[in-house]
Symmetry: C2
Subunit: 455 residues, 2 copies
């Protein structure tokens, strides 16, 4: 421990290290509930690539685990500290190095906040689409670590699709450059993509080249009320089957609507079973919105209300973005699931989730990236009640089992972390796990990078 600090100090400015246990303890957890975490030995906040290299060389020499962190908004415990680890917080490496409108790329350090990048590129008529709910706080490095999604994915895809190239400090401190600044490139294996979603287990991202898009027109939102989640899912399937490309397609169940109203006085309809939001950001969204309204009505919608303007559209999106927070306020504790199924199985997934809530006698609110089939069931429970806590954990697992049964995945966008590592093996199967482990060893033979996560 003394040797660790002495060695770290030799290559870092004094203000880059935090050793006060009260402060380091505050870096132990990300935003996931009920995930184990150890006490960090030290928190390091580097400002340069060389400082990160120094940290990794030191950690390799002393065989000390390193846990990289962004804003700790993650929902799977992937950034939780291990006992005695170095927490490597990249939040001070927060410079936007370049924005190039001709090449449509941005070059950034990992600590840049998602919203800061989005605003900076917007000033140049560009957009960086990935928009996780935590976009006002979360960092690009964290987004890359967990391959974050957001509301935009149904049209614009996930973070992975916007990462063109990376500078990565490897476990032993060497600097690796992957990928490209170009629109295309197939020189060798796609290491860039391998790092995206690797949850800090393969290396430390210290610079990223990101693809940008032209800023689309402001989206217009339509809200449709349905008497059942199944009817809303029928509308979702019809919308996608008819070839529409909404810029978002989101579903909130009654529990979620009530929770949002309680938290934000949003005036959402509380008697409807499922509210579907569909938006288009094309130059002329009217034909699509009209067609979608008809499809909703045909699927049984009782009310179909297009937003009057961009401001009203934004208000509906705010309500949707507030959903997880609102559901968290329903009870003393929550567990947020992230199961993604083929969208043709979405109705079965939601029906099954309702059945699971009944079986375990729990409130489970559901908000859904419906266009992606990505459900976020939020299990609400009283963590002072041991029996209810047990039922909560069991229902959480039952939801993942159902997702796998329906051809889905245990995590659409939140990652595995520690929360779902027991489940990852079930999804990947033995051959997959063995290969993934051998990949991890190829990058980190000593096992010092974010140990205990993923597998």
């Amino acid at each position: 421990m003394d040797e660790l600090l002495t060695r770290l100090r030799a290559g870092l400015p004094a203000d880059a290290l935090i050793t006060d246990p009260d402060v380091t303890a505050s870096y132990a957890h990300d935003a996931a509930s009920f995930c184990e975490a150890g006490a960090p030995a030290v928190v390091v906040l580097p400002r340069t690539v060389e400082e990160v290299q120094h940290v990794m060389r030191t950690a390799t020499a002393l065989r000390v685990p390193v846990v990289p962190q962004g804003a700790r908004t993650g929902l799977s415990g992937g950034a939780n500290a291990s006992e005695g680890c170095v927490v490597l917080s990249l939040t001070r490496m927060d410079r936007i190095l370049e924005i190039n409108p001709v090449d449509r790329i941005a070059v950034v350090e990992p600590g840049v906040v998602n919203a800061a990048l989005s605003r900076a590129v917007a000033e140049q008529g560009l957009s960086y689409p990935p928009d996780p709910s935590s976009w006002e706080m979360c960092t690009i490095g964290g987004n890359i670590g967990t391959a974050s999604g957001g509301l935009c994915c149904v049209k614009y895809g996930v973070t992975a699709e916007y990462v063109l190239g990376l500078d990565v400090v490897l476990a032993d401190g060497r600097l690796l450059t992957t990928g490209r600044r170009t629109a295309k490139g197939v020189a060798g294996y796609d290491l860039t993509r391998l790092f995206v979603g690797s949850e800090g287990t393969l290396g430390i991202v210290v610079r990223a080249i990101l693809a940008l898009r032209p800023k689309p027109p402001q989206q217009l939102v339509l809200a449709a009320e349905f008497p059942s989640a199944v009817a809303a899912c029928d509308a979702v399937c019809a919308i996608m089957e008819r070839g529409h490309t909404p810029s978002l397609l989101e579903l909130m169940d009654r529990t979620t609507l009530q929770a949002v109203n309680r938290l934000g006085s949003m005036g959402l309809p509380e008697t409807t079973e499922a509210l579907l939001l569909a938006a288009f950001d094309t130059p002329d969204p009217a034909p699509d919105l009209a067609a979608v309204a008809d499809l909703c009505t045909a699927a049984g919608a009782t009310q179909v209300v297009p937003a009057e303007d961009a401001a009203e559209s934004e208000l509906l999106l705010q309500a949707r973005r507030m959903s997880l927070t609102a559901l968290e306020a329903v009870s003393s504790a929550t567990m947020i699931d992230d199961v993604c199924v083929p969208r043709s199985q979405l109705a079965a997934m939601l029906d099954g989730t309702t059945a699971i809530a009944a079986k375990y006698d729990l409130t489970i609110g559901v908000c859904v990236h419906a266009g992606d089939g990505n459900t976020h069931p939020v299990v609400c429970f009283d963590h002072h009640d041991p029996d209810e806590s047990r039922r909560a954990r069991e229902s959480f697992d039952a939801i993942m089992a159902l997702g796998l049964e329906l051809g889905g995945t245990i995590t659409g966008e939140h990652g595995v972390g520690v929360l779902k590592k027991d489940w990852l093996a079930r999804e990947l199967g033995p051959v997959g796990v063995e290969l993934q482990r051998s990949l991890r060893r190829a990058f980190d033979p000593l096992g010092i990078l974010n140990p205990g996560k993923l597998f």
Copy 2:
């Protein structure tokens, strides 16, 4: 050799093996010029996953190299046989197993021809965008192996972006399933993407889950003539900087235009230095086409002609698709390069290529996926003339060196194969090469999968 055939026959129907040396020799090469190839010991044409597993188990037991092949339309020698290898041709595994318009996916075997899939999904109102020039012949398995591009990429991206999940037979015959049927998923490392572009060195793709899109409206093409390639590149940069999203943006130089006219009597303008084709496939392409016409004029275009209708647009695209074939007919031999640079560097790349042609006293025709910065300089030469052949090879290398100098990559979409393996190390650097090699070893410890390719 006898033991190899005996063991292979034990698990394969008689008609799945070809041993006649005259016939097996015809499987030795893909479509790349001047790439080494050995004589295959046997060509195997399996119809089932189990047969592929049998081949790989046999090859592992006997330490025999296996070279997977699709339609052998590749342009880098990546499918060339090694001496004494098993050529594993996947062309008979050509079933489309599923097309699902709600989930917007297709499930296919690797031998499905790109055009066959495109036509099958079009019947259901869907599109599979990746469209390499060889799309009427090349297979999806081959497209996945080389991460193929095409004309569509400037708007729709490359093959990699459409591969959601894979079944892969590993070197030792085990079956690995990667990825998902869902729109999103972040469970573990992205092995799917690692296989895309791996040129048959990590495993044998036997099934793929592909993402589809709604079929867009027929695109309308605008043709603009420029007095110089640099002026055309200025227009390209302006078009992208202003936030347009063309469905294609292609450039042909005068050598290419003349070659296409000679081959196909297409009536292209032969006195212009650079012809730029821009297309839009939006519901109302008129505003974009008008704006692009203005930008072309401002950049110095001497003629700007929008196609009258879809038929005329299709004719222009045919001319573009014919370019490589037409340039190949210019001389007794050609080498086709595939350098991709940031599009802001495209003018410098084309200027530099002209200078290289002058320096080496050669004809080099250039057609360009201009929106991607992906140039295909075609070095034309007489391969009976040793000095001209030497100069051709040197100019080919000079073009790659220039591409790297301009921040580009040695291959935008054709792959490394044997043609560019000496260059791959220059692009990746020593740390990158070492990691890539260790990945390869993790998948193929005996080194039997397509040896001698990539590295």
